[in-house]
Amino acid sequence: MTLTAYLGFALALFGIGLYGLLQRRSLVAMLIAVELMLAAVSVNVIALTRLQGRSAGMGQVVVLVLVGVAAAETAIALSLFVAIQRAAHNIDVEKLSELKR
């Protein structure tokens, strides 16, 4: 498999994530989409470090850290969603526009 294929896959993944982020109105769905975009970044890192060759293991380590950070981020985001749900009784971003006023 060539590098282009990896990068194409990552681009597709990122595009799907971006589309989901812009399209879905539920905060949970948007979080899933953000995770997809993050995954695309991880794929890019693995592919590019592997191409560079000398320190491929370093890329894998960084990606493992990224996965951990993503998990933590998800946990925080979900807890925020719960808090928002309790305060506003909904998690639809179209209706969460308090700051406009």
């Binding site: 971006l18 982020l21 812009l22 948007m30 179209e94 526009s97 308090e98 700051l99 406009k100």
Partner: protein, 617 residues
């Protein structure tokens, strides 16, 4: 510092200190305030009396200065004191009259809620005038000149809760300001050309100045004099200044404020004499002013207005003498006038205090003229009319002799006519007040609120000044020897054609007043008062105020309207436009702040993509 300089500084420092102490610390303690002020003016009177004794030797000039502002064009501006016979005698008159007015005010102003403030302002007035008189530098003169204006503004408007008093104070301030602009420009011209404003230096430099420059400077300085001394076109503030308390009028009309203008002409006499055209204008303007204000005094019903018009008229006599070339004549009349005009106002104040009105017929109807008031009124009026041996006779003779010697027959004849009118209106006032219909004396009086002590405090200065009207006339030769040592002094006791004519005219004026107002079956209405258009013309200041209302006041109002339109429409419009533009711009940009997170993300991503493309291309 020599002893005279110390005394001069002390004479200025004492009233200033009293003014500050009274106004800052003693506002709630009237007795202490009056005590401090009177003490300070006593110190000033003693110090200036010492100065007269020490410095007033013939042709002594003593200048003590400290450099304040060096200038490129000359030596620079130095402030200090100038001690010569003119300054020291004037300073003594100022301090003594202020002191007498303060003592008189103890009675006149007793119980007034602003008693302490009043004495603070009087001390300020005394300080400003002493500073003006003793100033060695023309800029210093100008500063104190304005302080004198401020003090008279504060005192004329002392009862500021009365709209008439507030308006009179404003009018005095604004009208004198019109003249002061000229004074300021004159001083600026002198600074620019000489780089030095020390008065003796300026006078010494006069021969080196070009005639055109001198004429311009003299005319500009004269504007200030005209405003301050209520002459010519700027006289109308002085009759209105009656709204102040009567002792203030006594001070303002005699030794301070209006005297400042005459004093300035005497101070800079060499400079003014070097501009003969300006002096010629001053001479004829003074003659017109003297006669015009005398006619106004002939029909006034308010005792203080009669005295105010007579002040204008007498100040015009002083300026006539100065314009005709005699410092001694003008200054001598200034000194004697300070004495008898303060006396007349104080005597009138006693009557006003008793009758609670300024109207002469009402005062007469209230009846019972106090002895001190009657003595003061008679002595002051005899001096004002120029009856021998009262002080006014000698000084008016000096003025008329100067006019006869230097100003031509027409000027002299008109001045004699003015002297006759003076005697007439002075005794019209006396007879109106004292020879009223006796049947009205049983009418109820106003509340006699004042204490007996007040009567004494008011009577004492009146009696002192009454005695002085008999004495002041004899200082003429002494003054002449000191002010103009080279000029021979002709005593007025040599009865010649001039004094005889003046005395005859004065006697004629008094006799006319007697037949119209004094005699037992007198009509108490004069010939002039029967001609209604003439009476209205005189009683309304020759319609000068109305002329100003129709021209200057209307023009200023129109200008103010235009300025208000400019302010409301153009300036406010610009401000409002900026505000409206900001609000509109904010609104326009606010659609962008939709509150939709996904739109922000879309914009952010698009921007990043565009940036990436721009960088990589």
């Amino acid at each position: 510092m020599s002893a005279p300089v110390t005394a001069a500084l002390l004479a200025q420092a004492a009233p200033l200190a009293a003014c500050l102490i009274v106004l800052l610390a003693l506002r709630g303690r009237p007795r202490a305030a009056a005590g401090v002020a009177i003490l300070a003016l006593s110190v000033a009177t003693l110090a200036t009396g010492y100065l007269v004794a020490v410095v007033a030797a013939p042709a002594v000039h003593q200048v003590a200065q400290a450099m304040w502002l060096p200038l490129q064009t000359g030596p620079g501006l130095a402030f200090g004191v100038l001690l010569d016979p003119l300054a020291t005698v004037m300073a003594f008159v100022v301090a003594a009259i202020t002191l007498l007015v303060m003592i008189y005010s103890l009675g006149y102003m007793a119980g007034d809620p602003g008693f302490a403030r009043y004495f603070g302002f009087l001390a300020l007035f005394g300080w400003a005038m002493l500073g003006l008189v003793l100033a060695s530098n023309l800029l210093q003169t100008l500063v104190f000149w304005e302080l004198v204006g401020l003090a008279s503004f504060l005192l004329i408007g002392f009862w500021f809760e009365r709209p008439a008093a507030a308006a009179a104070a404003r009018k005095a301030f604004i009208m004198t300001r019109v003249g002061d602009v000229g004074f300021l420009f004159g001083v600026l011209l002198l600074v620019r050309s000489q780089g030095n404003l020390t008065i003796p230096d300026l006078l010494a430099a006069v021969p080196g100045m070009s005639p055109g420059f001198l004429t311009l400077v003299a005319a500009l300085l004269l504007m200030g004099v005209i405003g301050k001394s209520a002459q010519g076109p700027l006289f109308t503030w002085l009759p209105d200044a009656m709204e102040g308390p009567t002792p203030v009028s006594a001070l303002l009309h005699s030794a301070t404020m209006v005297a400042a203008g005459v004093f300035l002409v005497a101070r800079l006499h060499e400079l003014f004499m070097a501009a003969p055209a300006v002096m010629h204008v001053l001479l004829w303007m003074s003659i017109v002013t003297a006669l015009a204000s005398a006619t106004m005094a002939m029909v006034a019903e308010d005792i203080k207005r009669v005295l105010a018009y007579s002040s204008i008229s007498q100040l015009a006599y002083m300026l006539m003498a100065l314009a005709a070339g005699s410092v001694t004549g003008g200054f001598f009349h200034l000194v004697t006038h300070a004495g008898f005009k303060a006396l007349l106002f104080m005597a009138a104040g006693i009557l006003i205090h008793r009758a609670h009105t300024n109207d002469m017929r009402a005062i007469s109807a209230a009846g019972g003229v106090p002895r001190a008031g009657a003595i003061g009124l008679f002595a002051g009026s005899l001096a004002l009319s120029g009856i021998i041996p009262f002080s006014g006779y000698f000084s008016k003779e000096a003025v008329l002799a100067t006019l006869g010697g230097h100003a031509g027959t027409a000027a002299l004849a008109l001045a004699y006519l003015g002297a006759g009118l003076t005697a007439y209106y002075a005794f019209r006032m006396v007879f109106l007040v004292t020879r009223g219909p006796s049947e009205a004396s049983g009418a109820p009086h106003g509340p006699e609120a004042h204490a007996a002590g007040g009567e004494t405090a008011m009577a004492a200065p009146v009696l002192i000044l009454s005695a002085l009207t008999l004495l002041l006339g004899w200082i003429g030769a002494w003054l002449a020897a000191r002010l103009e040592p080279g000029v021979p002094w002709r005593g007025a006791l040599e009865i010649g054609a001039g004094p005889a004519t003046a005395l005859a005219l004065a006697a004629g004026g008094i006799a006319l007043a007697w037949f119209e107002y004094g005699a037992a079956n007198a009509p108490r209405v004069s010939l002039v008062e029967r001609v209604s258009w003439l009476r209205d013309f005189f009683a309304n200041n020759w319609y000068v105020d109305r002329l100003y209302a129709a021209t200057f006041v209307r023009a200023a109002t129109a200008l103010s309207r235009a300025a208000r339109w400019n302010d409301r429409t153009v300036l406010d419009g610009a401000g409002d436009g900026v505000a409206a533009g900001t609000v509109g711009g904010g609104r326009a940009l606010a659609w962008f702040q939709s509150g939709y997170v996904q739109m922000y993300v879309a914009v952010g991503v698009s921007a990043l993509a565009a940036l990436a493309l721009w960088i990589t291309s």
